[in-house]
């Protein structure tokens, strides 16, 4: 087996809350192989972005990683000095943040920002870097890039800014890309173009991608495997076809069932009743138990660990073979 580009082992991340520590990520493990796109989905606040930030060492103190390991091509990176981590970010790991505006400096022309990134991480000349920046903007679908390159971020539409941020993340040809909702503001045609670009990077350069998105259409098209997160943990992980078409975990079932489609004509959209617990108030046992239609006694006391079921891993007591009531 080839060595994974990214290995996350039993990751735990905590923030200092007003009344004690809040554990935002609790024992999360996954791998991403070369050229693989791992989709990460889950309820708002489930911990998708925090997982991504932890991998690139960008959890703001007083928060931080409190357990587990993060390995990039087999080397631990979670214990590196801030200086060493800075060198990895941008160069070996490209990041696309959820809020595109936070990655762009409003006072600098977008071309300047991309050229700067390219020059920090490669030895291209100013002129070559500018050409590469134009090529990158074209690749992410910015029309007339040779003219738009000198624009300021506020002169770009929301979706165009998002694409500029994608271009920035790709600038140094990283081995791993963490893309946090990279296509939220994009219409379907540009979305398709970005997906194709990410896939091409995977097949041509073996770039691994952690793709956080709530858009199941994007997941279905882009991802090889998908992880469903709930309340700081992975509820289910497996090949994308299986998880989307035949989810096992009750939360994953509810999530897939709530996808609105073009064919449907309902007055109300399907939603999972209740809401995700707050970090300060995670129930004992399975965090999903107050909302789970299949909840049973054990769920309220014992936390389910991931259980292999076929090609999936599911954190749910229903799939424990020793459980007589398993469906």
């Amino acid at each position: 087996m080839t060595e994974p580009v990214l290995s996350v082992r039993n990751l735990r991340v905590a923030f200092a809350g007003r009344r004690g520590t809040l554990t935002a990520i609790d024992d999360v493990s996954f791998d991403i192989a070369p050229g693989e796109i791992l989709g990460v989905v889950g309820e708002s606040g489930a911990g998708k972005s925090v997982t991504g930030s932890a991998v690139i060492g960008l959890i703001d103190p007083p928060g931080g990683i409190v357990g587990g390991q993060v390995l990039l091509k087999g080397e631990r990176i979670d214990n590196l000095s801030p200086e060493a981590m800075r060198r990895i970010r941008g160069r070996r790991i490209g990041m696309i943040f959820q809020d595109p505006l936070t990655s762009l400096n409003p006072l600098y022309r977008v071309g300047r920002q991309i050229v700067e990134t390219i020059r920090t991480h490669t030895d291209l000349s100013e002129k070559a870097a500018r050409q590469r920046a134009i090529d990158l903007l074209a690749e992410v679908g910015i029309p007339a890039p040779e003219r738009r390159i000198d624009g300021y971020p506020h002169e770009f539409s929301g979706g165009m800014r998002q694409r500029v941020v994608i271009a920035l993340a790709l600038a140094a040809e990283p081995e791993l890309i963490i893309a946090d909702e990279p296509t939220t503001a994009l219409d379907v045609s540009v979305q398709a173009q970005i997906i194709a670009l990410l896939k091409r990077l995977g097949s041509e350069r073996g770039t691994a991608v952690m793709l956080v998105t709530h858009d199941m259409g994007v997941i279905a098209e882009a991802a090889d495997r998908v992880a469903v997160m709930y309340s700081g943990r992975i509820a289910e992980i497996g090949p994308v076809r299986d998880v989307v078409q035949n989810p096992l975990h009750p939360y994953a079932k509810g999530l897939m069932g709530a996808i609105p489609t073009l064919a449907q004509d309902t007055d109300r959209l399907a939603q999972i009743p209740g809401s995700m617990p707050r970090l300060s108030n995670i129930p004992p046992g399975c965090a999903f138990n107050p909302r789970c239609p299949s909840v049973f006694g054990r769920c309220r006391v014992e936390r389910p660990d991931p259980i292999p079921v076929g090609a999936h891993r599911v954190a749910c007591h229903l799939y424990d073979r020793s459980e007589a009531s398993a469906a």
């Binding site: 379907v188 045609s189 979305q191 076809r241 609105p260 007055d267």
Partner: protein, 344 residues
């Protein structure tokens, strides 16, 4: 102005009711020229970008009008002009009859402003990071004097947080302590706090997972039914638009190319771009249906194609399309449609 020779395009209203919002001939250009010195040295002309190029539509009270269209087609620019955040280069927006541009109506406009709220595309950029969330949400309540006293305001803020699926205690936190989708919900709670009757949402639920999104959209529809709110809704998610909108305008490079009732647009899209857009929706069921990608080069708003802006990508384009700009007739701006040469 000369009397029109040709019949004007039908204003987008039904007989008998005065629309809540009327947008007429809205235009907005931006000067994106390089700095003056560069232009002189490189002998470049001024470059004008036409972000919005003659947009007209109306929204009836208590209804939802959705704008869809490619990234960069001018949706946010229209929204910003509608709420009065950006002056149009030409045309006008009237809300309950009050002009958003006429200097003589400034006083009426000030009274109108508090009835209008916008939910921005970048939630983080639209809130002060140094304010606690409870103060962010309470701001319109205080500004418009909707409630008196900290206790009443605090209770209302807690209620609003609950409505968007957050906890009343979350009000003490700062924006950076929330996830992206939680911040988007805070922006929605703030917009609801203003008790506005007209909400303009620019991708208001784009950062939400399907279940929380359903919760917010169901809430928005309940409020609309109960309070008669009027919405202008921008979203790239066609399934969401289908669910929310009574009427839909499809934009392409600064113009509305098709305008129709929601059901009708999805049942029988007419404009070639609309058809392409609907065909390109990714297949969630993994049924193996190949999504048909929107093909062709992405047009450049600084130097748009002559004639119909969609002509370089349109399978039905002919000579007329390359020279003559189609106007909106029967809700469709397309020569082939008007010449009845589009397949059904």
């Amino acid at each position: 102005m000369n009397a029109p020779v040709m019949p004007l395009p039908q204003p987008d209203t039904r007989p008998g009711d005065a629309p809540y919002v009327v947008i007429e001939g809205l235009r907005r250009t931006f000067d994106v020229s390089r700095p003056w010195l560069n232009r002189v040295i490189e002998r470049q002309p001024r470059q004008i970008l036409r972000a919005v190029d003659g947009v007209s539509f109306a929204i009836r009270r208590g209804q939802t009008f959705a704008l869809v269209g490619e990234s960069g087609s001018g949706k946010s620019t229209v929204a910003r002009m509608v709420v009065g955040l950006l002056p149009p280069s030409a045309g006008d927006v009237r809300i309950t009859g009050v002009s958003m541009t006429d200097p003589r109506e400034a006083a009426a406009r000030r009274r109108l402003r508090r009835r209008i709220q916008m939910i921005f595309q970048d939630p983080y950029a639209s809130m002060n990071p140094r304010w606690r969330v409870r103060n962010i949400i309470a701001e319109p309540i205080r500004a418009f004097n909707l409630l008196q006293g900290d206790v009443a305001i605090g209770r209302r803020v807690g209620e609003l947080l609950g409505l968007v699926g957050l906890h009343p205690d979350d009000g003490v936190k700062y924006p950076h302590e929330f996830s992206g989708g939680q911040r988007q919900r805070i922006a929605i709670a703030r917009a609801l706090a203003s008790e506005a009757e007209f909400l303009v949402g620019d991708e208001p639920t784009s950062a939400l997972d399907v279940s929380v999104q359903a919760q917010i959209l169901n809430l928005m529809r309940d409020l609309q039914d109960r309070l008669g709110l009027t919405y202008l809704f921008i979203s790239h998610n066609l399934a969401v638009v289908r669910h929310m909108a009574n009427r839909i305008g499809v934009m392409y490079l600064g113009r509305v190319v098709e305008i129709a009732d929601g059901r009708e647009l999805f049942r029988a899209p007419k404009h070639p771009y609309t058809r392409m857009l609907l065909d390109s929706v990714p297949d969630i069921g993994l049924t193996g249906r190949k999504r048909i990608p929107v093909s062709g080069e992405i047009p450049n708003p600084i130097d748009p194609p002559t004639g119909c802006a969609f002509n370089p990508r349109c399978p039905f384009a002919n000579e007329r399309c390359r020279t003559e700009v189609p106007t909106l007739v029967e809700g469709v701006a397309c020569h082939a449609f008007q010449e009845r040469r589009l397949p059904a």
